[in-house]
């Protein structure tokens, strides 16, 4: 069921300790900053967070990590020039890291939403990120078996929603939003604008409303 929610606080209120939370965005583009701040405020702990990175600077996901609320990160690129909170937790052994090549991360998220139980990908074959994983030669190439990444909740950012929850995005801010919306049991989208149903061309909708549970407008 779709709900339009007034505040980001209410939108994340149902997130429980121990949840797996997907957070959209690549760099700042598509990052649902307000929803992440609300997740900080709601107090949920022992989170597994799926995001391309592991927080930057002193904001958003980086603060969640600093405050010890994240048990495990599943991401492709945790180390950045300003990922000091993750770096400190990691070196102290206080956070788990599952490092996944970016395209495998995207495909595993897509697989979860698409009901695919697992797949073989050439990416990572012969590298330490394939250690311990099943491999097979397919189409003449070494390939690694990867499994879907499901989530309890996805927090994403889109440009516009209509009255049935259809979403469109803007430029490279699209990135992980559409696949995370499909992979999570409950998807919360923050949007810049809500238009009447029928106000989005059916040909251009990127995320159909079936994948969206809660929408909150963020100014």
């Amino acid at each position: 069921m779709l709900n339009f929610i007034d505040t980001v606080g209410e939108a994340v209120a149902g997130i429980k300790d121990g949840s797996t939370v997907m957070i959209g965005g690549f760099g700042n583009a598509g990052q649902p900053f307000e929803l992440i701040d609300a997740l900080m405020d709601c107090g949920a702990r022992e989170l597994t967070v799926v995001n391309n990175n592991a927080g930057q600077g002193d904001q958003g996901l980086a603060l969640l990590i600093k405050e010890g609320r994240v048990k495990k990160m599943i991401c492709s690129f945790p180390r950045q020039s300003d990922s000091w909170h993750f770096d400190a937790k990691y070196k102290a052994g206080e956070i788990e890291l599952e490092l996944v090549p970016q395209g495998n991360l995207a495909e595993r998220i897509r697989a979860a939403g698409a009901g695919i139980g697992g797949f073989f990908t050439p990416t990572g074959y012969g590298t330490m990120l394939a250690e311990g994983k099943e491999t097979r030669i397919l189409d003449g190439r070494g390939q690694v078996f990867e499994t879907p990444i499901h989530a309890d909740v996805a927090l994403i950012k889109a440009l516009k929603a209509d009255g049935v929850g259809n979403l469109v995005y803007r430029k490279t801010a699209r990135n992980f939003g559409p696949i995370m919306a499909a992979a999570a049991k409950h998807t919360v989208a923050q949007v810049s604008e809500i238009v009447p149903t029928g106000g989005l061309d059916p040909e251009v909708i990127v995320t159909p409303g079936i994948y969206v549970n809660s929408i909150v407008k963020v100014a």
């Binding site: 690549f26 760099g27 700042n28 583009a29 598509g30 492709s76 690129f77 945790p78 180390r79 950045q80 990922s83 993750f86 770096d87 990691y90 070196k91 890291l97 490092l99 996944v100 090549p101 970016q102 395209g103 495998n104 991360l105 995207a106 495909e107 998220i109 897509r110 990908t121 050439p122 990416t123 990572g124 074959y125 012969g126 590298t127 330490m128 990120l129 070494g142 995005y169 803007r170 430029k171 490279t172 801010a173 699209r174 990135n175 992980f176 939003g177 559409p178 696949i179 990127v206």
Partner: protein
């Protein structure tokens, strides 16, 4: 820049980063779809000519990426894989991350250009991890790029600061991809790599013999058929 008459072409001096970027740009076939990795490979975009009709892919979800944005062009929703604001060219398109990496993994890109720590004689690539036990690993799209493109070009200095060759018999750093590199552009030479070993297409400020003295794998001159 280089003497075009010999099967091994030479220039009088090693190439700087910009000259090397210009050379890579010149070697990209017209009409190609290309992904330029973060760092040195990004310089290549400065030397692509409009008449080459090259389409740039950025793995965060775009084909038809234009030059770096400046001034009023800067838009936080339009960035490249290095998280630098960029621009959009006519004919651009946007797509989500799974579709973007499908373009890459599916073998639809003609070329990707990457930096490297090491390249082996058979084209293995190491460019994501120093192997230091206390390093925080971060891979990003490196393995996907290395595995997906039809041709993987590497740009790097030939030698480390300590004078060791980055072209090696077998990589000692953790691998990014196996047998994926087809060409290596360095300040001292352009190498072609593949299952049969390493050949040299051009040298810059050195002879093949001098180059061989620096590189611990057998080098031969490449046939003159390369562009």
């Amino acid at each position: 820049m280089s003497i075009q008459t010999a099967s091994i072409q030479t220039s009088e001096t090693p190439l700087g980063r910009d000259d090397l970027a210009r050379l890579v740009a010149r070697d990209i076939k017209p009409g190609s779809f290309v992904n330029l990795g973060i760092g040195q490979p990004t310089l290549v975009s400065n030397y692509l000519q409009p008449e080459q009709n090259i389409t740039l892919h950025t793995e965060n979800g775009m084909l038809g990426m234009g030059p770096e944005a400046t001034g009023d062009q800067i838009d936080g929703d339009l960035i490249n894989a290095g998280k630098i604001p960029v621009t959009e060219l006519p004919g651009a398109s946007y797509f989500h991350h799974a579709d973007s990496f499908a373009i890459m993994r599916g073998g639809h890109l003609d070329i990707c250009v990457l930096g490297a720590f090491q390249v082996s004689a058979t084209g293995d690539l190491a460019n994501w991890h120093t192997g230091a036990p206390d390093a925080i690993p971060a891979v990003g799209g490196a393995m996907d790029l290395a595995t997906g493109a039809k041709d993987v070009f590497v740009m790097m200095t030939l030698l480390t600061r300590d004078g060791a060759s980055k072209i090696v018999e077998a990589c000692t750093y953790p691998l990014t991809g196996v047998g994926c590199v087809t060409r290596v552009y360095t300040d001292k030479a352009v190498f072609l790599t593949g299952p049969d070993g390493v050949t040299v297409r051009e040298t810059f400020g050195c002879t093949l013999e001098e180059l061989q003295a620096l590189v611990p794998v057998p080098l031969t001159a490449a046939p003159a058929v390369e562009p």
